[in-house]
């Protein structure tokens, strides 16, 4: 086959439902032989924060932000009907009963399929997140120019 087609996504949202949709598209695209890059920014960074341990950040405002906005794939909530976690718990239970992969499993799967996960440096700086705040599947930190460089070569671009 000719040169691989590309899909580049921006994950701006840290909602569980949006993250699931994003990773379902990403893993499918990788299965179709596409080269996939996901660029995480703002609340989307919550998806790729490590689940365990505490996040180290400088200054009381950033420390407080990372306590109130801890993130991690297992802590995300639905954008609708979260109902203090009750709705999110029910959706997770239903997905499990249907043998659907969890967000955590989708992230691991996407990584094994070669999907590149990139964290936005500017929002990382603003929120006081260093590279060790993220799970091991995250490849590196990069800026908007990197996203645009990838996006201009991509047939499909999505902002989620």
């Amino acid at each position: 086959m000719a040169e691989k087609e590309k899909l580049t996504m921006v994950m701006f949202s840290g909602d569980l439902d949006r993250a699931l949709a994003g990773f379902m598209i990403a893993t499918t695209a990788a299965s179709m032989g596409m080269e996939v890059t996901i660029f995480f920014t703002f609340w989307g960074l919550n998806i790729i924060k490590k689940n365990e341990g505490s996040l180290k950040s400088q200054g009381w405002m950033r420390k407080m932000l990372n306590v109130m906005n801890r993130g991690g794939s297992r802590r995300l909530k639905l954008s609708k009907l979260d109902m203090l976690g009750l709705g999110t718990g029910m959706i997770k239970k239903m997905m499990k009963e249907m043998n659907m992969p969890s967000l955590d499993e989708l992230i691991i799967m996407s990584n094994q399929m070669g999907v590149k996960l990139i964290a936005c440096t500017t929002t990382c700086g603003m929120m006081g997140l260093s590279e060790d705040s993220f799970r091991s599947e995250v490849e590196s930190l990069a800026g908007a120019a990197y996203f645009l460089g990838e996006a201009t070569q991509s047939k499909v671009t999505l902002f989620i």
């Binding site: 086959m1 032989g33 043998n99």
Partner: protein, 77 residues
């Protein structure tokens, strides 16, 4: 339809049948046929699109009692 290999995706939803097909097809040789069994109707359109994107040949589907069998011929290594 005769197949060289079979893949059971009963009870699985998008994107798993496609992800598993992409994984399984690596084990086949060019010219061999893979049969994928599923019960999620999405597979009919999904698999033909996957074949178009990956350059494999979509041979068709068979349906019986809610069980769907789709056939894919591996076109290249």
């Amino acid at each position: 339809m005769k197949a060289d290999e079979s893949l059971d995706c009963i009870g699985l939803y998008c994107p798993m049948p496609i992800v598993k097909t992409a994984e399984k097809i690596k084990q086949l040789k060019a010219g061999q046929v893979l049969e994928v069994m599923a019960d999620d109707k999405g597979i009919i359109k999904d698999m033909s699109a996957w074949c178009r994107a990956t350059g494999n040949e979509f041979l068709g589907t068979e349906q019986k009692d809610g069980e769907i069998k789709v056939y894919v011929k591996k076109s290249h290594e």
